[in-house]
């Protein structure tokens, strides 16, 4: 299994009340359990949930399916409320939970 890793992009600094864009790219094969001639059958293994927690509460959650491209990418918005970590959590089939944070500085 390759090391779990995500690339999280947030603005370096934001003003309080500003709407900022958060972009997340998770390295993951999003294995769809395709069973077709000429292919080795593999069990489904996808990231089924990506969630973001910031300043004390969940601000975004995405339910994913095998219809999401490999190395899932998601962009969403959040209001800059205070300086702190924006924690991205992704959960894959089998229950493994991965966590990575990005720092948002709010003035």
């Amino acid at each position: 299994m390759e090391p779990a890793a995500a690339r999280i992009t947030v603005p370096q600094a934001a003003r309080r009340g500003e709407i900022v864009e958060v972009r997340v790219l998770v390295r993951h094969p999003m294995e769809r359990a395709i069973d077709a001639p000429g292919l080795t059958p593999r069990p489904r293994r996808i990231v089924h949930t990506i969630r973001a927690t910031y300043a004390g509460e969940e601000v975004f959650r995405m339910d994913l399916s095998p219809g999401i491209a490999a190395n899932p990418y998601v962009a969403f918005r959040t209001l800059a409320v205070e300086s702190g970590d924006l924690v991205i959590e992704w959960i894959e089939d089998g229950g493994a939970v991965h966590r990575q944070a990005a720092r948002l500085t709010v003035s």
Binding site: I19, R32, A33, I34, D35, A36, G38, L39, R44, Y54, E57, E58, V59, F60, R61, M62, D63, L64, S65, P66, G67, I68, A69, A70, P72, Y73, V74, A75, F76, R77, T78, L79, V81
Partner: protein, 145 residues
């Protein structure tokens, strides 16, 4: 093409087809589970997608829903459905007032040329619906990715 082929061969027995194809549910079932008897309103959703995609394994889609995103009136969920994919319920985004703006983007797999359906639910109980056609040259089936 395995899942799509199985569904096409066994149209009268969707349960069997789904079991063989390893998919979850039909597009109609997926859509009804979200709509739950309500009448969706058309408009208020902008879907940005390339009209023609060379490779269905990764198609950019971005969605914006008109909403004040206040505590009283905000978009709670945005659903993306692909009627002709083996797994039609592609993604659901859960938002709240702290999003500031109801705008999300992701990359989806598109099996074949079809109209992608987006449903948005608001905290006031409104349901919005929009469609956007995407033409796919090389579908996202057994080609990998």
């Amino acid at each position: 093409m395995a899942a799509a082929a199985a569904a096409a061969v066994l149209p009268t027995s969707p349960t069997t087809a789904r079991a063989q194809a390893g998919t979850a549910e039909s597009f109609e079932t997926a859509q009804q589970a979200i709509v739950r008897g309500r009448t969706p309103r058309t408009g208020g959703i902008a879907i940005d997608m390339p009209p023609l995609s060379e490779n269905g394994n990764s198609v950019d889609v971005s969605i914006r829903v008109d909403s004040p995103m206040t505590a009283a009136d905000h978009v709670r969920a945005i659903h993306v459905l692909s009627p002709k994919n083996p797994h039609p319920r592609v993604a659901t985004f859960h938002l709240g007032p702290r999003a500031g703006r109801a705008e999300v983007a992701t990359r989806i797999r598109v099996a074949t040329t079809q109209s992608i359906v987006v449903l948005a639910e608001t905290s006031t109980g409104a349901l919005l619906r929009a469609e956007r056609e995407v033409i796919v040259v090389l579908g996202a089936c057994v080609e990998g990715g």
